[in-house]
């Protein structure tokens, strides 16, 4: 018999409804894995009691026929989502002991749909980072290892704990948030699926802000279908978030028709820079062939402002972050380090509470917003951002979806790049333009590197056209037949 842990979200949902097993059984299986692989440091907080209680409630709802779309599905929640009464840290020392008296809209939506929360997942501090190494709670580890190597690898970031947990079967699915690639890149590094929906698709209410104009929640799952199901439960208009879009919520799962004949797929030349890893290039070509074979039409396109995206992102995101993080002042919640004056208390609290990367971004952001620099940096970055969005708008006049690599490399070793922030920022090069344009982006695992590490491809769609992205992703996933799992899952 197949283990409960081998089931996808869709299969588990169907099995629960067919009474093949109970939500409590499924939850217990996952809680066992949470315990077993605790060394991966995927969770900051485990909530087994809450999970069992929710699983029981889900079984009752299933029995009564009132179950929601996620009933009984054990999920992990990135510790950036505020969860009522449950420690919420953003992986920062400065939020020590913070138990929100409210629930984020996305996690509340999942709860309402019957999902079971296993715990709160590790991440880069305040979602700032691409390797989960800036967490105050220590790095989460990638369940994957290169062939013949015992070096611990990063799971990517910032949603590193989410990706590691889903990959290591410590959660059937997880929430992530993506500001410049924080769902897609870790999904690629850990061999799972992750979609950053269109900006405005999921409410930001109750998600601890990093860069408000970019932050967007999304699901991280084992399959594209799972992502479609979970996104349907997370998304929706929320009057408590002014940037939430009042648009109809489609049935994402129904969009997975398997038919992409005639679909126009754009291949942007700018994503094939000189020096790109030949393996990544080859994977991309493989993906192109798969979509072609499925009847899609491949079109070469140009996104001319791509080369400015990273610099633009690293102005806008820190600028917003510098302001968003001003509220962590030691006065009302979290860490406080006393001082003789108010200013001294601020300085001591923030020096002790924020890690190095967070401090770096606050400083950068403060700098670019300063009088005399605002026009040269922030304002110019906003103009470039508009051009980048325009590039995509023009491209989408001729194509329906765009295919690119998700990240320029596979997962790297823990400790690497830590002394070189620029090298670290380069990991976001393929994901950041999509974020700046607010478009949906999906990462699907397509193959393994020569060292046996997962590699992903990214599909980018028109605003609020996650359906096309998911449909193409579903076809790509099936064609790739990616079935590899980390050896620790096998063993």
């Amino acid at each position: 018999m197949t283990s409960l842990l081998d089931l996808s979200l869709a299969e588990a949902r169907d099995g629960l409804r067919a009474k093949e097993f109970t939500a409590v059984e499924l939850t217990d299986a996952y809680l066992g894995m949470v315990e077993k692989h605790r060394d991966l440091n995927a969770y900051i907080t485990e909530t087994p009691d809450l999970a069992r209680e929710q699983a029981k409630a889900a079984d009752a709802a299933l029995a009564a026929g009132t179950a929601g779309a996620m009933a009984g599905i054990p999920v992990g929640i990135k510790d950036l989502f505020c969860t009522e009464g449950v420690l919420t840290t953003a992986a920062s020392h400065i939020l020590d002991g913070f138990k929100p008296p409210y629930e984020s809209t996305v996690s509340a939506n999942l709860k309402k749909a019957g999902a079971v929360m296993l715990g709160k997942l590790n991440l880069d501090e305040f979602a700032m980072g691409g390797s989960n190494q800036t967490s105050y709670y220590g790095p989460a580890k990638n369940p994957w290892k290169a062939e013949g190597s015992d070096v611990d690898l990063v799971p990517g970031g910032s949603s590193g704990g989410s990706a590691a947990a889903v990959s290591a079967r410590m959660a059937l699915a997880a929430t992530g948030t993506d500001t410049g690639g924080s769902i897609r890149q870790p999904a690629a590094y850990c061999g799972i699926t992750g979609i950053k929906p269109t900006y405005g698709r999921c409410s930001r209410f109750g998600i601890i802000a990093y860069a408000s104009s970019l932050d967007q929640a999304g699901p991280m799952t084992r399959t594209v279908r799972d992502a479609a199901i979970m996104l349907g439960s997370m998304a929706g208009f929320d009057p408590k978030d002014s940037t939430s879009a009042d648009v109809a919520l489609p049935d994402f799962e129904a969009a997975l028709t398997g038919d992409i004949r005639g679909l126009k797929v754009g291949i942007p030349q700018e994503y094939r820079p000189e020096g790109l890893d030949p393996e990544i290039n080859a994977l991309w070509d493989k993906g192109i062939d798969m979509l072609k074979a499925a009847g899609a039409e491949v079109v070469d396109i140009s996104l001319p402002h791509t080369k400015y995206a990273l610099a633009t992102y690293y102005i806008i995101a820190p600028a917003e972050a510098s302001s968003n993080l001003a509220r962590y002042d030691g006065l009302r919640f979290g860490l406080r380090v006393e001082g003789k004056t108010l200013d001294e208390m601020y300085a001591k609290t923030r020096a002790a509470g924020f890690g190095e990367e967070v401090q770096r971004r606050i400083l950068m952001g403060t700098y670019v917003l300063s009088a005399g620099y605002y026009d040269a940096y922030y304002l110019k970055a906003q103009r470039v951002r508009a051009r980048i969005a325009e590039d995509f708008r023009n491209a989408f006049k001729t194509v329906d979806v765009i295919l690119t690599p998700t990240a320029p490399t596979p997962a790297f070793g823990i400790g690497a790049n830590m002394d070189d922030p620029i090298a670290m920022y380069l990991n976001d090069v393929f994901t950041v333009p999509t974020s700046l344009a607010g478009l949906p982006g999906l990462s699907v695992p397509v193959g393994l590197s020569s060292t046996g590490l997962p590699l992903g491809l990214q599909l980018i769609g028109r605003p609020f056209d996650e359906e096309t992205v998911l449909r193409a992703g579903d076809v790509l996933e099936k064609a790739a037949g990616f079935s590899a799992v980390p050896s620790l899952v096998k063993g």
């Binding site: 984020s104 601890i208 802000a209 860069a211 002014s242 940037t243 002042d329 009302r332 919640f333 601020y346």
Partner: protein, 484 residues
């Protein structure tokens, strides 16, 4: 009206601009659902948004937007159908988010004007530069603990309209008139209650001085002056300081100062190290605020008659002076009282009673017009009783005093106390005869040419009739009897 500071180097003119923070009348705060009522216990009207909790997001309260547009229309200002909220970043203990959501380069209301009615009967137009919406901060309380400050966040997030004038005022009186007029307009519009003592209207004063014909010199901003009188005082004191600094060879530094009414001086508020760079940028949590013409028009049709229009109508309809009309319209409650009292009567006469008698009476008792024990109808009835000769003008004053105490209808008072004017010729003649008979010498004096003594006789007869004799009739009868 001119106001000049005579210095050793010549005459100095004042340049004054005012920034008024007017608290918007609304049940809920600008970006949260928390209540706004004044005087609640500390930290009882605070949402997680107001307290700057992680993950909390602002959502605009449309009532506050309507109130800002309404105020803009009342100031005859340009309404910007697209405006942008920006963050003003600074750290302070009563600013939970670490930034204030305000509007910077794209405010909701643009240029407008206010017409000042000055005591000498002239008018002067002061330009409005802009009006923008912003959040109020919380309150820091520094005197409750030897080493700690307490924070009350009830006010945090309450909607304010910052109304910025152009530097068009030249005298402290004009600044005072501007504040009073602005307050009147806000109260007419019901967009701000204008209570400076409760802090729902606060004023920052910008002052500089210059010689005639010069461009503007450096200005100083005096923060948070909380009464019209203090605003006028602060201006005088600050302007004199500028003149003294200039004339002793110094220079004025642009800075923020605090007015100390007890010491009669202004003091520098912030040291250089704390000079703020607010790092304004558009708030990414909020979309640009956009509305259409229909939204503005729907508000426009609900605008009440404003003080200037009402004043013009009073002058035109009732034939009163501009000054009297200006006094009556300053508070809309007074204007409403007047209009009700004047219904079907001589408006000028009613206005006279109101301004000279009722205001005085209420003042003595420390009452506002809405607390007046005398209703508008009763004041009107009193005027009627004088006009139809039921009581004399002199007795009317006494009736008024009784009304003020007892709140009864004037007719009832007159009836109860027998204060009706005697217009019965026989009765007056009899009273006159009695006084003349009792004073034959004085009667003779009158006949001998001391006609001034008639006044004495009038007084005596009035006394004998408890003031009820119709004065006109009495004079006529006496003259006839004494002089033939």
């Amino acid at each position: 009206m001119s106001y000049i500071i005579k210095g050793e180097t010549g005459d100095w003119e004042l340049v004054i601009g005012l920034e008024v923070h007017a608290q918007v009348i609304s049940n809920a705060k600008l970006f949260s659902g928390a209540a706004t009522a004044f005087g609640a216990d500390a930290n009882t009207q605070v949402s997680f948004v107001d307290a700057g909790f992680p993950g909390m997001l602002p959502t605009i309260n449309s009532v506050c937007v309507e109130q800002a547009v309404r105020t803009g229309l009342g100031l005859k200002a340009k309404i910007n159908k697209r405006s942008v909220f920006a963050r003003k970043n600074y750290f302070y203990a009563d600013l939970p988010q670490g930034y204030q959501i305000s509007q910077f380069d794209l405010p909701i209301v643009g240029e407008g004007e206010i017409i000042l009615d000055l005591p000498d009967g002239t008018s002067r137009t002061v330009g409005i530069e802009r009006l923008h919406l912003e959040q109020d901060a919380g309150k820091s309380v520094h005197d409750q603990h030897p080493s700690k400050s307490f924070i009350d966040l009830n006010r945090s997030g309450v909607a304010l309209m910052e109304i910025v004038s152009k530097p068009d005022m030249r005298t402290p009186e004009e600044a005072g008139a501007y504040l009073r007029k602005l307050r009147a307009i806000l109260r007419y519009l019901e967009t701000c209650d204008g209570n400076m003592d409760e802090g729902s209207m606060r004023c920052d004063v910008n002052v500089s001085v210059r010689k005639a014909g010069e461009p503007y010199r450096t200005r100083c901003e005096i923060k948070n002056v909380n009464s019209v009188r203090f605003v006028m005082q602060a201006i005088e004191i600050e302007a004199k300081r500028h003149v003294e600094v200039y004339e002793s060879g110094g220079d004025i530094v642009q800075e923020t100062r605090l007015f100390d009414p007890n010491r009669g001086e202004t003091r520098s508020m912030r040291s250089k190290e704390h000079a703020h760079d607010y790092r304004y940028f558009p708030d990414p949590d909020l979309l640009p605020l956009e509305f259409d013409d229909a939204f503005v028009e729907a508000i426009r049709v609900t605008l009440p008659e404003l003080p200037d229009e009402k004043k013009a109508r009073f002058v035109e309809t009732y034939g009163m002076t501009g000054y009297d009309a200006g006094v009556l319209v300053m508070e809309k409650e007074t204007a409403a009282y007047f209009e009700e009292a004047a219904k079907g009567r001589d408006g000028k006469q009613v206005a006279n009673w109101l301004i000279t008698t009722l205001f005085g009476g209420l003042n003595k008792k420390g009452l506002s017009i809405t607390e007046s024990p005398i209703s508008p109808a009763q004041l009107g009835q009193l005027v009627d009783l004088v006009n139809d000769n039921t009581i004399s003008g002199r007795l009317a004053k006494d009736v008024f005093e009784i009304m003020l105490e007892e709140g009864k209808d004037p007719a009832v008072i007159v009836e109860e106390r027998g204060m009706k004017q005697v217009t019965d010729t026989g009765a007056i003649e009899a009273a006159c005869d009695a006084v003349i008979a009792a004073n034959p010498d004085k009667a003779q004096d009158v006949r001998d040419g001391k006609e001034k003594l008639i006044a004495w006789f009038i007084g005596q007869v009035m006394k004998a009739t408890q003031g009820k004799a119709n004065p006109g009739m009495l004079q006529e009868i006496l003259k006839k009897k004494l002089l033939g």
